[in-house]
Amino acid sequence: MKYFPLIWATLWRKKTRTLFTLLSIVIAFLLFGMLETVDYAFSHPSAGATGADKLITTNKYSITLPLPFADLQEIRSVPGVTDATWLTWLGAYYQESKNFVFALPIDTESYFNVHKDEFIVGDEQMKNYRSTRSGALVNVALMKKFGWKVGEKLPVHSTIWTQKNGSLDWTFDIVGTFDVKDSTQANAQAYTVLFHYDLFDEGRSFGKGTVGWIEERIDNPANAAAIAGKIDALFANSSNETKTQPANDFAMTFIKQIGDIGFVLRAILGAVFFTLLFLTGNTMMQSVRERIPELAVLKTLGFTDGKVLALVIAESLLLCLFAAVIGLGLSYATLPIIGQALQGVQLDPVALIPGLGAAVLLALIVGFPPALRAMRLNIVDALSGLH
């Protein structure tokens, strides 16, 4: 508003001091944005818009333990389950162990049934896939990352499954690529290579007749918990008890086991906020102290006590919000890098919004004491303190 030129000019009275304070706040909010985004992602894992109608069944004791293939028949007979598919963890990488690849052996029919409308594959390529036993469909992002081409052979190294000849290497023929419809799932599927379960099951030297986990599609998301309970009841008291959960919850329980990441992140943020409070508070206090005579002059011009208080608070808000927006903006730019490092965790920029609230809080805490000082100054004393 009309006071903006006055407030802005006041902020930049001591250019270097304001600049350094500004930069400190920018840095703090850069950190805030990055940490908040990670914290949010870990506490709100999303299985995408289609997650609500899917369940995941794993061995009750550990996702690393197998389930018998025979379970599928029984699961399919549970009312509410429209289809079920089976998968196993290959634990593969491409050339070096840091190049993780989610090579997923699938049963074509049931997999694309359970994951209806999630994948975009060209008709010609899909036909080739069905007719090629060693065929593989690769995520477009992964193709780009390694520069693979359709028609090439793709060798991956499994850390778990040996073939009958003792080798841990599995080779596929890239017959096509796929893309995901739901952009929130883009990250989760970015490393996926789909290939035929038959190739896997016949090739592996042990574990035949077992699967890693089972995914089900249900008719009504509202019944998810009930259907999950029915599935687990089928195998209770057997030697392979199961745990069935909605796809969303599955991600959550897994992440919860990583430990209280939230606590660590919030502790760090707390330390950052506290030190920033101190730093900025000191600067504001110093700045107002120096300007007492000028603030007295404003009062002589007719500015009321309340207006002077408001001016100082406005100055604090301007500084903090301006810096926070820059800092949060920078952290937004770092999201792709963090997303890469976390391999598949979806980062949502909505997590940055509390940052603005924090900036306002900071501005108010830091601005109030000097603002009160300014409001209460005695004109005559302040003016005579000048010289």
Partner: protein, 392 residues
């Protein structure tokens, strides 16, 4: 030169009380950076100690060839016999090889704090446990008996999970197991595990065979001969590693992540703290420009002034560093944390604020202080004397 330097420094220090607010900005800003840095790195150090420092150089672990972890590995009885005959293994009084055939699996136990289930590693061990793992000591209760569903729990696991007390009964996979004792093992990864007789575990989970074999060598040097004899055997497909290397590999990923994240966060905070330091020192110099100009007019050289300012910044930063490291030590040293280990089971470890970490934190503090003080110091040294005297 030295006399001048001392004079400048004592003048600076005398004025610090007047500038308490601004000076404490450096102290608190840097204390924050160092506290965060040391705390996070202490997590990495603790994890590293629990995992990578597990194991002895003269103990070996044998897995099926190509498996990178016990959980994925599979050895038969015949394999174990062949391994037991290889040269280099220490032998007990009866001439039997000190080899423990082990079977690793995962069970669910509710956590003490949340009550929700979490994964625990259950390790079936052979009869030679005591000789192969001499550092394992029962701290309360007694050892389990073979062929019965009895187990002992590590002190780490006992701190994390419900029902791990001597005499209590756990329901694991539809069978009841009695906890007969609690053990400690030098703070290594096994303290997060449950141990029981290997054959009992095997029949309980209906799994034939073993996942690994752990043996004690006659000496660390016997490793090569031992390994060669096994890897050259065409009937056997195994990977032989020193136990220490095996665990180092298991922890490498997480330790690296913790250290990278911690260092990145600390670097960012340090940059912020540096700006704070710059602010403080610039205003310190500005406030004292009259005194500095007077000293220069008297005949003090530029260098003592420059050093004086930098040393003031350094001393304040040092104080901040010491405070930060102390806070980290006070709050987090020995603090128990647990996270997901390699077998997707919980691993308990303690944060360790090592001496190295404290020194690292203090070095960071000094660097920030020096950087923050340099440009203001330069300005102080280059102050136009006459102008400053006139303005004062």
């Amino acid at each position: 030169m030295l006399k001048q330097l001392i004079a400048v420094i004592s003048m600076s220090l005398q004025t610090v009380p007047q500038r308490l607010g601004a000076s404490s900005v450096i102290v608190i800003g840097i204390a924050g950076v160092v506290a965060v840095l040391v705390s996070v790195l202490a997590m990495g150090a603790g994890f590293q100690h629990t995992l990578a420092d597990s194991g002895r150089d003269d103990r070996v672990i044998i897995l099926r060839g190509g498996s990178d972890a016990e959980l994925n590995s599979n050895l038969t009885r015949t394999d174990i016999d062949t391994i037991g005959n290889a040269p280099g293994l220490a032998k007990d009084a009866d001439g039997k090889a000190l080899l423990s055939s082990e079977l690793v699996t995962v069970v669910n136990v509710p956590k003490l704090d949340t009550g929700t289930d979490a994964n625990v590693t259950m390790r079936g061990v052979g009869l030679k446990l005591a000789e192969v793992r001499p550092e394992l000591k029962i701290v309360s209760g007694k050892m389990f008996r073979p062929a019965v569903r009895e187990l002992i729990a590590g002190v780490g696991a006992a701190k994390l999970f419900r029902g791990l007390t001597v005499g209590s009964v756990l329901r694991l996979r539809n069978a009841d197991w009695t906890v007969t004792g609690i053990f400690s093992s030098n703070g290594d990864v096994h303290e997060s595990e449950l141990m029981a007789d290997v054959d009992t575990v095997g029949s309980s989970i209906e799994r034939p065979g073993y996942s690994s074999a752990v043996g004690l060598l006659t000496s660390a040097a016997a490793f090569t001969a031992f390994k060669d004899s096994l890897t050259s055997d065409p009937q056997l497909k195994v990977d032989v590693q020193r136990e220490r290397e095996y665990y180092a590999k298991q922890s490498a990923g997480l330790t690296k992540t913790i250290n990278v994240v911690g260092t990145t966060v600390a670097v960012i905070m340090a940059i912020g703290a540096m700006f704070g330091a710059l602010n403080t020192m610039y205003s310190a110099v500005a406030a004292r420009s009259l005194e500095i100009a007077t000293l220069r007019a008297i005949g003090f050289g530029a260098f003592p002034v420059l050093f004086g300012v930098m040393i003031e910044s350094l001393l304040l930063s040092l104080l901040g560093g010491v405070i930060g490291a102390s806070l980290a030590w006070m709050f987090f040293n020995g603090h128990t944390v647990s996270t997901l280990g390699a077998a997707f089971a919980q691993v308990v470890f303690q944060l360790i604020v090592t001496d190295t970490l404290i020194i690292t934190g203090i070095i960071w503090a000094c660097i920030i202080g020096l950087l923050g003080g340099f440009f203001p110091a330069l300005r102080a040294a280059r102050l136009p004397v006459a102008e400053a005297l006139r303005a004062g």
